[in-house]
Symmetry: C2
Subunit: 203 residues, 2 copies
């Protein structure tokens, strides 16, 4: 589940460019810390005893009737059950529910030479590290990611507005597996052009 951080005895590390999966019990609170301030953390959750039920952005948009979740909102699964309750957010509340996780195809198209770390592989590897496998790559909750929309529907990728040490807290509404990826995207500005460590706690 990642090594400990000097920042806190209970802090788990999501290494830059890598993913980490962890078990979370119903009622526990996951705190996701943007250690550097500019790191997007792709976040997935799966029902602990049935990985075919997962945190769904498209179902959560229907439940919330909004493009970005905020404190007080409950994100739901693809079976429309409550999965994560948004408890606290010390950032300005800019997160993304729209964009697919990066993958080998994305970096190929961006002109990367050879293999580029990516969130889709990080999800698979993180689950594999705890003996699990998902049939699919759900569209992630991209914490701290700054994708503004315009009146005409145009989207943009912009540097995160969050600052070092800011965090969000999400409460598990069922037993689940959470997976975080410190997005390795360094070819567009979503992580300020570099990937850094993030941290989390489960309490």
């Amino acid at each position: 589940m990642g090594s400990l951080s000097p920042d806190g005895p209970d802090h788990q590390r999501v290494p830059a460019r890598r993913g980490v999966a962890a078990h979370v019990k119903h009622g526990q609170v996951v705190k996701v810390i943007n250690t550097s301030g500019k790191q997007v953390v792709d976040t997935w959750a799966f029902k602990a005893d049935d990985l075919d039920e997962w945190l769904s952005m498209e179902h959560s948009r229907v439940a919330l009737m909004k493009l970005v979740p905020a404190v007080g909102d409950t994100l739901v699964t693809n079976h429309r059950r409550p999965m994560l309750y948004f408890v606290e957010d010390t950032t300005a509340g800019i997160h993304d529910m729209l964009m697919a996780a990066c993958d080998v195809y994305r970096y190929e198209l961006l002109g990367a030479i050879g293999y580029h770390d990516n969130c889709t592989d990080n999800l698979r590897n993180a689950l594999q590290a705890i003996g699990l496998r998902s049939k699919t790559t759900p569209s992630p909750l991209n914490l701290f990611m700054n994708v503004p929309w315009a009146d005409d529907g145009k989207l943009a990728y912009v540097r995160p507005t969050s600052e070092a040490g800011q965090y969000v807290c999400l409460r598990a509404e069922m037993d689940l597996i959470v997976v975080f990826s410190a997005c390795p995207q360094d070819m567009i500005p979503v992580n300020d052009m570099r990937s850094t460590d993030a941290h989390f706690t489960i309490t």
Copy 2:
């Protein structure tokens, strides 16, 4: 592949509240006709020889950097390959890429008594009717669906603006299976509170 319509000798019917799947060859154009004008048509596409590759709304948003596709845009797969090219649109261009297909859970939450037809089951049944199966229910391209967004990210479900007989044309950029569902949603205004037949041609 649905019965023929009196409206045209080559028109296939998507019966109200039901789904239909069809094979489409690379280069063929699929015309989707809003026969009644107010019917949302949930649309999926799968690579003909690999149903694990499918039309992806979350990957298409990254490719297009917009919330709604328009003529001249190419929608892509979850492997970021071109799948459907938007050739023509006689509507005002209002479609949806944000909302999950309706399902039994959705209608339960809306208070439906007993089984309610739904697009998720329509997808599965339509594929099964041609001997196929998908592991997942991708988030659909909701043709004609009117989901406006506000500056603050709030979304709404609104009656379609399309008129009877208006249509969109999509060109297949690979051999694929297309699936249409005449959305049976009659508990919110997306289909003007009732489900009607839609039609399509493949040429």
